[in-house]
Every structure is written in structure tokens, then in C-alpha cells.
Symmetry: C2
Subunit: 359 residues, 2 copies
């Protein structure tokens, strides 16, 4: 019997994660498995890291009130999205696992799941950021890490998808990168595409993932520009140069990218949205205006969570330094040095000017 002829039951889907973005995407996925009930199992399990909220378990609240009161208050989740506190129980027998957790948890989650996933399972990563390799210097894609640890196929979903707006069902787009698995494209589209969340698919998965992580560095630069009171010409120049550095970085370190991918939602659209309204932009604007450190501002403004941009800038900087390429990426490098307090924010434009002058 060939793979194609293998009898399949309905596809089981698990959401690994239940934060703001995980809860928002559960609205879409929960409805779509019901809409396409010939293809999918009607229950979507959602792994929820258990917390006690006002004396009650978060999983219990979700399963009785159908609301994630902590991370997406005020939005009713579909009743077929079932919160499960135990990771292995949540993932057992699943065909598609949607990873939507902070990248810091990836190693631990994979260690627990190792050897327990269904054969042929696909992990779809919604994680925007990279694995840190401080000692080796450089970045590692989250999907590379997941593939290595779990020996599964992976796909990524990235785009201009600020979670509260997705939860409000505002019209937007997203890009799914899925290599060498074209037979899975139609099922991925069924799982994620709605009238207000339009999916495009591409084989250029690395580029999709890299765009999603690198754009946070550019958002920091946009935030500095806003903090310094720069106008639209300067901010647009910064975003453009950021996009150029993203494309060059991808081409240099991950060969074979398709330039068309940057025209998808994961590229230019996510960059624009993040540079207008993302949390990295906001933190970095405050960094300039208040003079406080990034760490202090994260605690004040993000409830102790970390912004990805400064971290990613550091990882990328170490990688560029190792390869002797700092001067080819003046914007990426300046963001790291500004975040660290090594240079003042108003050096951002000085760096870009020098870069132009060295042409």
C-alpha cells in the first residue's frame, strides 16, 4: 500500500499554546474543523499551561465559559476547542500540531513530546523568533530545532497578524511556508483560511520564517525613529533599508530564497504592521523618550514578558560579527548597539548615512 492509499481517519488538530495569539488562532481553527467536518476531527485540543485565576483552573474556565479570561478576555472561543492541561494528552494521536508558544519553551516542550507523536505528524509553527545559540554565535530556525528534536515535518504560518485584530475578525492575510509537501497544502488552507484570514501558500518556508523573526529588529529601528520624532520620509527609509537587510540576510545565510516571498504577507505586510503598531516599536519608542533600559520597559509595559526585537538583534549581531559582516548590515547592527546602550539612538541615521556614503 502506498502512502497515498493509506486509509486515514479524520485529521486531529492540537494547538500547543494558549496565549494571546494561540487563543486568537483557536477561533479560526475551531470553526474551520467544524466547517470541513469531512476532513477534520471536530475537537481541537488546546494545550494550556495550567494557571489558577481567581481560585479556578484556567483550563476549567476555558472548558466551561469558553473564554481565555487571562490572554484573550471578552472573546468566546468555539465550544469544540477543548483545553487540556497535560501536554502529552493534548498531543496524543494528533496529525497537525500548531505550535504557538514563546520560543523559549520550544526545547522543553519538544523534550516532553519526543517519541510520543503520531507517525507522519506535521508541526505548524506560528512562533516569531529564533532559537538562541549564544555560544556558537548565530541563530537557528525554530522549525530546524523542532525537526531535529522530534523528527517531524514542519510548516510555518506568518503574516501581518496582530492578534487582537485577528480575534476581532478584521480582514487580513497570512502566508504559510510548507516545503515539499504539496499534498498537504489544501488541508492547511482548509484549516486556516477564512473570509477574513486569507492564506497564501509557498514552498519557500525558510524565508517565511526568517521574515517573521527579522522584522522585529526593523520594528525596533522604527520605534527609535518615532521616539526621536522623525517624520514619514525618514521612517520609510528606515523600513525600506530594514527590508533590504532582511532580503540580504536571507540570501546570504539561507540560500535559495524566492524574492516573491517578500511580497507576501509574511514579508512587506508584516513589516509595515509591526513597524506601525507592534510591541517592539512601542518599547523602542519609549526607550528613546524615557531613557530607561529595555529590560525596565519590558517589565513596565509587557508585564515582564520580553520583546523579541532586542533579543533577535543580539543574536543576529553575534552571527554577523562571527562572519565579519557587521558593516554590510548597518541597521541590524545599530539596533543591537542602541538597545545595549553602546551607541546613542540618534546614531541610527548617522550609520545609515555612512553606509550610503561608502557605496
Amino acid at each position: 500500500m502506498t502512502a497515498n492509499m493509506r486509509p486515514r481517519g479524520p485529521i486531529k488538530v492540537t494547538l500547543v499554546g494558549s496565549g494571546n495569539w494561540g487563543s486568537a488562532i483557536s477561533l479560526i481553527v475551531g470553526k474551520n474543523v467544524q466547517k470541513y467536518d469531512n476532513d477534520f476531527d471536530s475537537v481541537v485540543r488546546m494545550w494550556v499551561y495550567e494557571e489558577i485565576i481567581d481560585g479556578m483552573k484556567l483550563t476549567e474556565i476555558i472548558n466551561t465559559q469558553h473564554e481565555n479570561v487571562k490572554y484573550l478576555p471578552g472573546k468566546k472561543l468555539p465550544a469544540n476547542v477543548v483545553a487540556v492541561p497535560d501536554l502529552l494528552t493534548a498531543c496524543k494521536g494528533s496529525d497537525i500540531l500548531i505550535f504557538v508558544i514563546p520560543h523559549q519553551f520550544v526545547g522543553n516542550v519538544c523534550a516532553q513530546l519526543k517519541g510520543h507523536l503520531k507517525e507522519g505528524a506535521l508541526v505548524v509553527s506560528l512562533i516569531k523568533g529564533f532559537m538562541t545559540q549564544k555560544l556558537k554565535g548565530g541563530i537557528r530556525l525554530v522549525t530546524e530545532e523542532i525537526r531535529d528534536l522530534l523528527n517531524v515535518d514542519t510548516a510555518v504560518l506568518m503574516g501581518a497578524n496582530l492578534a487582537p485584530e485577528v480575534a476581532n475578525e478584521d480582514f487580513c492575510e497570512a502566508t504559510i511556508g510548507c516545503k515539499d509537501q504539496k499534498d498537504r497544502w489544501s488541508i492547511l488552507k482548509k484549516l486556516f483560511d477564512t473570509d477574513n484570514f486569507k492564506i497564501a501558500l509557498t514552498e519557500d518556508a525558510n524565508t517565511v520564517e526568517l521574515c517573521g523573526g527579522l522584522k522585529n529588529i526593523v520594528a525596533c529601528a522604527a520605534g527609535f525613529a518615532d521616539g526621536l520624532g522623525y517624520g514619514s520620509n525618514t521612517k520609510s527609509a528606515i523600513i525600506r533599508l530594514g527590508l533590504v537587510e532582511i532580503t540580504e540576510f536571507v540570501e546570504l545565510f539561507y540560500h535559495g530564497s524566492n524574492i516573491r516571498t517578500f511580497f507576501e504577507s509574511c514579508g512587506i505586510a508584516d513589516l509595515i504592521a509591526t513597524c506601525s503598531a507592534g510591541r517592539n516599536r512601542k518599547i523602542c519608542e519609549a526607550f528613546v523618550k524615557t531613557g530607561k533600559s529595555i529590560r525596565e520597559l519590558e517589565q513596565e509595559m509587557l508585564n515582564g514578558q520580553s520583546a523579541q526585537g532586542p533579543l533577535t538583534a543580539e543574536e543576529v549581531y553575534l552571527m554577523l560579527k562571527k562572519h565579519n559582516m557587521v558593516s554590510r548590515f548597518p541597521l541590524f547592527s545599530a539596533v543591537h548597539q542602541i538597545c545595549q546602550g553602546h551607541i546613542s539612538p540618534d546614531h541610527l541615521v548617522t550609520r545609515l548615512r555612512e553606509y550610503h556614503n561608502s557605496d
Copy 2:
């Protein structure tokens, strides 16, 4: 004697136009001809359409007070920028003519100049918009028109260059498109490049010019989105789709474009700046919020001048209709139909959704 060996005197530069953008660029050009006085004649003549301001001629005001009190009040122009009321006198013997007039005046200006330009003169167009060919259906590049009417070489300068910010010397970038005339690139860079106005050159001149005109249609769509209260996800999706339609339009009707050109300031950066802070965006936001016609709003908000976006949308729509391609350009087409009152602004997203669904 070959062209290269032809003895040349200092290069004479004329600005044909003295509005807001013309006055702003005169700050740059006026200083650069002094900086590179081995290459350029030290006087930049500026053709000023004569007007009487408080009983005094505008040319006299500019030449005595060195300020264009009507179009760029509060900024001192370099003293070597000399206002000339007569077009032929302003242009006589000039090597480089910078056209920075509303595109409606191009025909008339060229008719007057015909047969009076120096042999080998180069016209650099800063005009963002197209020539109208309502009867034939379609658009015609301003530089095509100029080349035909005057039998001269042309170049274009476009970018994220909101004039007041350029006049304030905020850091920004611009792109010069200049075909088959690489011997002129260094002189064009000397004429326009400064520490705060960084020039990149490309041979892909048609794409540069098309980006500068077409982006105004997208800015209208961004304005509708703002008027309708759409968030960042939706607005980013609209800008992205607009960019995709720009690239497809250019490829379809002006073959041989280089996709890299869209990553220059004339492409993505100008699009972002215009969709954030341009006048087309503003007018179209007001169109949704007030229910007034575009024409009324132009009179109220632009002192009777016209916004280019709705005009360009009409010209492009006629061209698409003629070629039976309206459905391939849902955003461009919707902008025209909304401006005309044929469909309601909230149909914009419906159109984009239908377009995705027809994939």
C-alpha cells in the same frame, strides 16, 4: 571628435517649476552646484510662473528675500537660485532641466520649449503622475511625452520625499532612473545627493516613474481604510496588495522591469510614506468620513488643486477595461469605482476577499 572628448563648460541647471516640491529641491540643487563648482555653473535658474503676492512679483520676492513666500514660506532658498519669469530665458543654454510642475502643464511647457533647448540637454522629471489619454484609454509616461515633444533624453527622480520634510533636511532617500546614459550618473548624483537626501541610481527608469504615479492609487485605498477605521492588519494587507498590483501592472504593460527596483526608495518606501502621510490618503479618509465628493474635498483641503490618486485610478481603470483586465487588479479598480461613487467604500475589502477566493 567623439562625444566623450567634446569640451564642456560648466553644466547649467534650470528648475522648471517652483511649487512646494520645486522650492524644496532648489535648496538641495542650489547648494550642490556651489559644492561642486568645478562641474556646475554656480547659478541655478528657476522658472517661476509669475504671480503677484501682496502687490509684489513672486520672482522679485524670491530674488530679493530668497524665499518662496507662497509655496515654501519660512525657508531661505540659496541666493544662487535665481527666479526667472520667462520660460525660454530660464531654459536657454541649460544642460540639465529639472521638471517639477503639475503634469497638466507638461504639454504647454514643452510646446513653448520646442526647438529652443540646447543639444544634448537632459530633462529630469520629478513629476508624479501620468499623461491622460482618455480617448485612447490608458496612460502615457510623462517622460515619454517629454521625449516625443522635445527630442531630449530624460531621467526621473522619485522617492519617499514629502516636500516639507525634505525642506527641513530630514534624512531620506530617493531613486533616480536613468536609462542608457551611465556617463551621466555621477553628475546626477552630484546634483541631487546630500548627507540627508541619499540618491541611488538605476537603469530601470520606467519602473521608477510608474511606481511614483501608481502609488497614489494605493494611497487612496489606504485612506479609505483609515476612514473606515480599519486596523493595522487590514491596512497592511491593502498596502501589500497595492504593491503587488503595481508590480503586475508594470510587468504587464512595461516589460523588462527589475524586481529589485521595487525595493528602492521609489517603490516600497514611497508607498509607505504616501500611505501614512500623503494628501491622497488624507482626501480619501475624509471622503469616507464626510460623505463629500472628491472634488469638494479637493477644493476644501487642497486649495482647489487636484489629488493625483483618483485621476490616476481613472486612467488606469480605463486602460485595464480596454485590455479586459479589471478583475486582475481588484484594488486599483475598486479605488476608481469608490472615488466615482459607483460602489461604497466598504466594498474595498469585499473585492479583495473575492479576489483571494477566486485563486
